[in-house]
Symmetry: C2
Subunit: 525 residues, 2 copies
Amino acid sequence: MTLTGNMLIGQQAITGHREAIQAIDPATDKPLDPAYPGGTGEQVEQACALAWAAFDRYRETSLTARAEFLEAIASEIEALGEALIERAMRETGLPRPRILGERGRTCQQLRTFARTVRAGEWLDVRVDNAQPQRQPLPRPDLRQRQVALGPVAVFGASNFPLAFSVAGGDTASALAAGCPVIVKTHSAHPGTSELVGQAVCRAVKNSGLPEGVFSLLFGSGREVGIALVCDPRIKAVGFTGSRSGGITLCKAAQARPEPIPVYAEMSSINPVLLFPAALQARGDALAHGFVASLTQGAGQFCTNPGLVIARQGPALDAFIAAAADLIRHSSAQTMLTPGIFNAYEAGVGTLTENTHAQTVAAGQASTGPNQCQPHLFVTRAQHFLADNHLQAEIFGAASLVVQCADDNEIHQVIEHLEGQLTATLHLDDADQDSARALLPVLERKAGRLLVNGWPTGVEVCDAMVHGGPFPATSDPRTTSVGTAAILRFLRPVCYQDFPDTLLPTALRHGNPLQLRRLLDGQKEG
Amino acid sequence: MTLTGNMLIGQQAITGHREAIQAIDPATDKPLDPAYPGGTGEQVEQACALAWAAFDRYRETSLTARAEFLEAIASEIEALGEALIERAMRETGLPRPRILGERGRTCQQLRTFARTVRAGEWLDVRVDNAQPQRQPLPRPDLRQRQVALGPVAVFGASNFPLAFSVAGGDTASALAAGCPVIVKTHSAHPGTSELVGQAVCRAVKNSGLPEGVFSLLFGSGREVGIALVCDPRIKAVGFTGSRSGGITLCKAAQARPEPIPVYAEMSSINPVLLFPAALQARGDALAHGFVASLTQGAGQFCTNPGLVIARQGPALDAFIAAAADLIRHSSAQTMLTPGIFNAYEAGVGTLTENTHAQTVAAGQASTGPNQCQPHLFVTRAQHFLADNHLQAEIFGAASLVVQCADDNEIHQVIEHLEGQLTATLHLDDADQDSARALLPVLERKAGRLLVNGWPTGVEVCDAMVHGGPFPATSDPRTTSVGTAAILRFLRPVCYQDFPDTLLPTALRHGNPLQLRRLLDGQKEG
């Protein structure tokens, strides 16, 4: 479990030949050893060749074997023990409970996908039996299943060094679907990445799988990433990160001779609507909940509540005053990287200088490096509607309250929003009619709607949608969290009049895998 | 049921202001009245505004109401009677039985989608009940359903004037999903399009739906089409046509501020593999089946068998000789349009001039205009592997036999293929091991694999896949024929901790729609 600075290309630890990246402890701004030399184009090729060689065999592993492989990854990650926790804390500045929680979530996610793989619903087996006597033409025997798309390139996120990084949601769902994975690590946590990568490689080896099922590449900037996305053997991309980064990958994927899907989770300000009765009845409690959600993890969540929308008046004024007070007493927190801190400062600076946004509170300052001071701003609906900069995401603990004159203005503000991961409604019984009128708009704008909760905290389960219209994601038809994420890496294949001996097991007569099939239009029990 | 030359923008018949298109009877090369002036940018806007205004209401129609609407469209098309059949025959040159069959298929397709809508499986309802006692954090109540993407632009195909045109598969599946549809008609059959469009408009009116649920636009070239794809209110595109046309729409859709999915079905040569034992045992029957599939409808099908792959030797020579003889006796057939005829002639000319392809047979000539003479060519695997022009689609009744030295060369030829809609295997028991070895490659190459059949004839059912890797389609994750086509026009939305009174009916406690939900990880019976 020593850190080597090597990439993992299949089962080989290989040193890159390009400029090295090095993690920085954001609490001290000091670099952390070892250095991680970046991969070359040839090394990207090597990983893609291995992934391609592994694909046909890996995608046809039995449901049991694939599920056990995912569970083995979880066990290997747990076996990394304290070394992983400590390295992740140093590389991210995140506190121990957060890293422990994230490890738990990562392993639970892998085990949840193992259950999903075993259940086999994702195969979406459809059987239309032959009708040789049908007039005017007989119907052939037609059977459909889902097959894996091909090797997938996964880009780790900075803000979830475990749960959305090397063995995170994108990797788990792609492996579950039967796709080999090549991870381009996030440069903020290479040591954490190497440790988890070693764990995955051990699981590959101990599961007797072809080595190309998993590789891990380091690389500065976009060179390795673009080479990966443009390699003809890569058939899909998973990405969590900035809007500009996501759009760059989408454009590269579309410019290929064979375009491929990119699942990029990019940008969201997660509007929170405070309805009058709720605001009146419990403005103070709402302010507490809001500030807790806003400042958690220095606000470095894609679901951070960056926008509050409500009707102007004394109740909203009281909410703003209470929230401002809580923010003024909030401690500064270390952000993940100097780059993220600088972007946060720039975003806050731009909003501070905007004549139509008023700064109502800033959190406590701190002398250390990369310290996030929470910020709260207020603006009026007419300014928000007139200036698109007011809905630019500031990644960190900053939020903007939009004061609206009436329901009509609230409606306009929501209709004016770009696509979002979440939209939250705080309401009491008396607010239900107003809320109902807004639901059609909110459903068009966001992938997840919440009542009387806070958007941070994304459950890994069947019903979760962590997705939404552009620019929240590049593909609103999917989710990157929860078991439905497996559907991103599949395509249907139909088998017509195949003899049983040539059919994939899932499609054979007699249903040997005991799947719930759509049989002649009826779902089997 | 008179033809007016007008577009249908919602319930209004409106004359375009741009250059008119006019159908041409391909059997005589004479224009057919009336002329259809093309739509302007403003008229595209008008249709999009109506579709947008209709969207929120239409997508929440009950399953029953939406199913009845689809059935009403089918009845209205049938009620057009002989006028539709005659106009379609004149505009396409297709014979009466083919047009009658296609009308039947179109109406069956609409009724099949009605059944699919009623069954509600496509809502993919997922419920994870709250776990308030869970440690360390309670789990909220989470419910997911699929909602419609938004208004869809549909581009009619030339070769299916009914089944893949105004009320064809793309329109039926988009309407089934809850999306308003704006059709940009194919310029080859404007009269047929107007008649069917009038039928759909009557169904909209009689079903009491908002008029923007359906509009029909005419337009020369790409002007109206691109304006439609670029309108921010359009959220997805369905297209069946040429590779260049499909790629143009994909690029336009990706260049929008908010990129949208394009489902383009474009280009496929549908390889047919003849295995040794089958070829030996029944080469003559295979030749008959092959030529029948190749020449049906003048070969104007996306699933036309444009490529035959087999091991060289006496059995293949006999097959080629038998097929050549049948082709030499084949009558010429009128093609759909002068443009398609000219492209066919150009494709055949290019192949004739290719020094590595040998012309082995041409069908009978005819003096009329736009007459397709079937063609059969032969080449060797090494030439096919060296020259990508040999796998360019020739839309029409032309096919190329690739002679391979051994199994290894067959494998190379298949691996060298671009993405396909179909791949066909003709085999006997003794061929099964060879076939099995090729299946992993074929599964990567095509959306539908057939044994001992012919690829033309695409069944509308649950298990059908009419799709495949690029360039067969722009999105291999989907099918454009069969009930799974509805899934193209949906996105998931998750509702967290919603009171029952605000939940969509499909997600309410007590399961009022009696859907088969995924409930706490278990599929309900």
